[in-house]
């Protein structure tokens, strides 16, 4: 066999790819990074900002190519977006039609082909820098018990849905520190551990974060004053509640040529000044070693191997360009290396692997039949309210604090835990403000549910009413821990005739929330009522069971599900059934709606045995010793923390393993 072209080929330049490239290129390895999307030099930020400013729908994808509303069949790198999951892309008969080649969302609009029974609601990016262009920057560590769920909370229960990880938290402490320094996380260890050591938040001895913490908002301080130390929350017996400042990959001081955060309140969808870390920062660091070759607009279509137990011997990719009328694309090009790293995130990675046929009816790295299974997100319960006093939202980073202190506890034996993110952006996420409330008070409508009199205002009266609302609005976002389910999964279907602009199959998604997960929503609703009671706030949350079609008929809202625990609500004290504290004003809710959190996890899980997992604890394929699948697709469970810091720490660990493997075997 001829010498391979490179030491390492890395597919995907989001978070995991650049981190591994930087670590190993600094050690002298010759690396090729292949990125499917376009390059994104710093000068592109202005163009993306302009797209954002001029787009009417300012969803997280609005700044970035391809343009909003593009047909995924005509794009080289289409991606899942939030706008694709809007109700107007759902057929009123979706419920009855599902399964017969029909999908929840119109396939001319939605890149993901969603077979249900429930929709997957998160999006991701396919450009250089990946999804971090519109990440929020939240950089929490996982907790001790997050790694040992089965042995801690389900040892005696054969049906307990949560597995253990093949590693424990101590295995990651050092890598967490390295990841926090690479990302540039702003936080303070003593503040974090003061309230959170009790739930298993750990650091190496003497550790300190690279940057000082981000100051809390006026809202955070007010909520902390009301809640801190309180321990009579229903369903959390004896557990104290604390509001803590959120570690963030956001500059609290200048870093290189990147500025300090100026509180643009726009981390999602785009930081105008790159105060927030993204994958391009680390990619530039890798490229500065001179050991990295970077190819953009090259979509990898196949990982080549002769069979299980055999090494990977190459990858194939297609180079594409947008021509004046159509996409031009190369014939498949083969590249070879000693080690292959796939860092294409938790939907594109399994899609690529399932496309990698080995000619014997089997696909690469899938002897366990786990590839693509266990797709998870943090289904998010959003609860929004008005405070009795002004707290001045719409200022500062989108979130600066959260309630982390209930992320662990004995209740995890039978219902999902969550973390609660406190939002500084008023009801922007919740109802699309300021647009919705302004339109209500100018047009005499009540979409916000705060203009029941249908007032039509102008002049000082309009200003006063808007000021009153906007300076009191806030929301909690509960990131609920989802269970891994074998049939929540990514597959491909080469026979449905639905492809992307390169004629590649599109991801088919099956997804559902288990009873365990749904019970987490019920506990979040009860918790929010207690919080509103303590603050004197009024709940305006709406969980819409139905959507309304253009002709006025109602049909089931795909993101709504039935309340899993009516008894728990029946048993609440009357004070917690007051309509002004309850979502929809319902003492016993009929059901809940969920959002996506942008956290795509679990589809090539790590484990301690090959039979039930795809990769080992270093993210190495059990089936091919020269293949590493990295990113949060390896997580056996999603836990309650946002995934990126942990996937970055795992990438550090993988880099070490590759370094060792290159040194010993080659």
């Amino acid at each position: 066999m001829s010498d391979p072209d490179y030491d390492i080929i890395i597919v995907g330049a989001g978070v995991a790819g650049p981190i591994i490239a930087k670590e190993l290129s600094q050690a002298g390895a010759k690396i090729l990074i292949i990125e499917g999307g376009p390059e994104t030099p710093p000068t592109n930020r202005e163009e993306y900002m302009s797209n954002f400013l001029l787009n009417t729908v300012k969803t997280l994808e609005s700044p970035y190519p391809p343009g909003m509303g593009a047909n995924p069949a005509k794009e080289a790198t289409p991606r899942a977006t939030i706008a694709q999951t809007f109700g107007n892309n759902v057929s009123p008969t979706w419920h009855a039609d599902l399964g017969a080649g029909n999908y929840i969302y119109n396939a001319d609009v939605s890149y993901l082909l969603q077979e249900g029974p429930q929709p997957f609601l998160s999006g991701y990016k396919r450009i250089t820098g990946g999804t971090t262009w519109h990440w929020l920057g939240t950089s929490l560590r996982f907790l001790e018990h997050d790694f040992t769920m089965k042995s801690t909370y389900g040892a005696d229960d054969p049906d307990y849905p949560m597995p253990d990880w093949p590693i424990v938290v101590d295995d990651l402490l050092d890598a967490y520190g390295r990841a926090e320094h690479e990302i540039g996380v702003s936080a303070d260890v003593s503040i974090q551990t003061k309230e959170l050591a009790q739930i298993g938040l750990k650091y190496s001895d003497g550790y300190s974060y690279p940057m000082q913490e981000i100051p809390p908002s006026v809202l955070d301080v007010q909520i902390a004053a009301a809640l801190n130390g309180f321990q009579n929350f229903i369903n959390f017996e004896g557990q104290q509640v604390f509001v803590t400042s959120t570690p963030a990959g956001r500059n609290s001081q200048p870093d290189g040529n990147r500025r300090t955060c100026a509180g643009n309140t726009n981390c999602i969808p785009i930081c105008p000044i790159q105060a927030k870390w993204d994958g391009t920062v680390t990619l530039a660091g890798a490229q500065s070693t001179g050991n990295v070759t970077f190819k953009s607009q090259c979509v990898v279509t196949k990982v080549v191997s002769a069979g299980y137990g055999q090494p990977v011997t190459g990858i194939e990719y297609i180079h594409w360009e947008n021509g004046p009328t159509k996409i031009t694309k190369s014939e498949p090009i083969t590249a070879t290396a000693k080690i292959y790293v796939i860092a294409a995130h938790a939907i594109e990675t399994p899609k690529l692997m399932l496309m990698s046929d080995m000619g014997n009816g089997q696909t690469v790295a899938n002897s366990s039949d786990q590839m693509g299974r266990n797709l998870m997100d943090h289904p998010l319960y959003l609860s929004w309210s008005l405070m009795p006093e002004q707290i001045f939202g719409f200022r500062g980073p989108l979130a600066t604090s959260g309630i982390e202190s209930l992320r662990d506890g004995p209740f995890r034996s039978d219902r999902a835990a969550w973390r609660c993110e406190i939002g500084n952006e008023g009801w922007n996420f919740a109802i699309g403000d300021p647009w919705t409330t302004v339109s209500d008070f100018v047009d005499g409508k009540n979409a916000s549910h705060t203009n029941a009199n249908m007032d039509r205002l102008f002049g000082a009266g309009l200003i006063e009413q808007l000021n009153s609302h906007f300076t009191r609005q806030w929301r909690m976002g509960f990131l609920v821990e989802q269970t891994p389910e074998a049939d929540s999964r990514v597959t491909i279907n080469r026979d449905n005739g639905i492809v992307d602009g390169l004629h590649l199959p599109r991801p088919v998604i099956n997804y559902k929330l288990s009873e365990y997960t749904r019970r987490g929503f019920a506990s979040a609703e009860v918790f929010s009522r207690q919080v509103y009671q303590m603050l004197g706030a009024t709940n305006f949350t709406r969980n819409a069971q139905n959507l309304t079609a253009a002709d006025g008929t109602e049909f089931p809202n795909p993101v709504w599900f039935e309340n899993p625990d009516r008894d728990m609500f029946e048993a609440l004290p009357d004070a917690l059934k007051a309509p002004e504290l309850c979502a929809n004003g319902q003492a016993v809710p009929d059901g809940f709606t969920y959002f996506g959190a942008g956290h795509l996890v679990g589809t090539y899980r790590m484990g301690s045995v090959a039979r039930t997992s795809v990769v080992d604890s270093h993210s190495r394929s059990w089936d091919h010793s020269t293949l590493f699948l990295v990113g949060d697709g390896v997580f056996p469970t999603i836990t309650t923390a946002n995934p990126t810091l942990t996937l970055a720490a795992l990438a550090m660990r993988t880099a070490d393993a590759i370094k060792a493997q290159l040194a010993t075997t080659l």
């Binding site: 400013l53 509180g263 309140t265 001045f392 600066t400 029941a452 000082a460 200003i463 906007f470």
Partner: protein, 186 residues
């Protein structure tokens, strides 16, 4: 667009938005939103923007003078036109509402069907229209994505009062929202 149309438009904009005319239509104005907005409203309302300005001018000319509240109520279709006893033409009110939202949000919501634009079509008329949108002033903040402040400002309430951000001494800030008719189940 004639100078006098622009003057009428600016006066009407100040009355409807509640913001001081010097703030939204300054003498020296490198950005030029009033001009852009009048042009946009004229181009997207058949003759109804011109009709609305004429109605506004005639209301201003009534002796004894109507209060700004009375004029605004007529324009917004909340009270009848005192000279006719009838509400003004509903298309004119719809244009006034579209202009008011344009000032607050930077977006033009097409008020009724015209050739080339269906009712409800939304357009951000320029990046500055979004950035300078008065909604962010009414919340004593900035448009999302356009902070002019520096690190850490969010841990204190806004330094500038609502009177300062709107240039209107008559607004009283901080009052509780009008809760009449509220109910979480509404």
């Amino acid at each position: 667009m004639s100078n006098s149309d622009q003057k009428t438009f600016n006066a009407m904009s100040a009355l409807l938005t509640g913001f001081n005319e010097q703030l939204i239509a300054p003498q020296v104005d490198p950005i030029g939103l009033p001009k852009l907005f009048l042009q946009w409203a004229t181009d997207h309302s058949g003759g109804d923007c011109a009709n609305l300005l004429a109605t506004f001018a005639s209301l201003q000319a009534i002796v004894p003078a109507l209060s700004t509240d009375e004029i605004g109520s007529v324009i917004m279709g909340v009270s009848p036109d005192p000279t006719t006893g009838e509400p003004i033409d509903e298309n004119q009110t719809a244009v006034a509402q579209a202009i008011l939202k344009l000032w607050y949000l930077g977006s033009w919501y097409q008020p009724f069907d015209i050739a080339g634009a269906a009712k409800g079509k939304e357009t951000v008329v320029s990046d500055q229209a979004y950035i300078k949108g008065l909604a962010s002033q009414s919340m004593q903040s900035h448009a999302m994505g356009n902070s002019t402040l520096t690190f850490g400002y969010w841990d204190k309430p806004p330094a500038a009062s609502l009177q300062v951000t709107t240039g209107n001494d008559e607004v009283s800030a901080g009052g509780p929202p009008d809760t009449s008719g509220w109910g979480a189940s509404a």
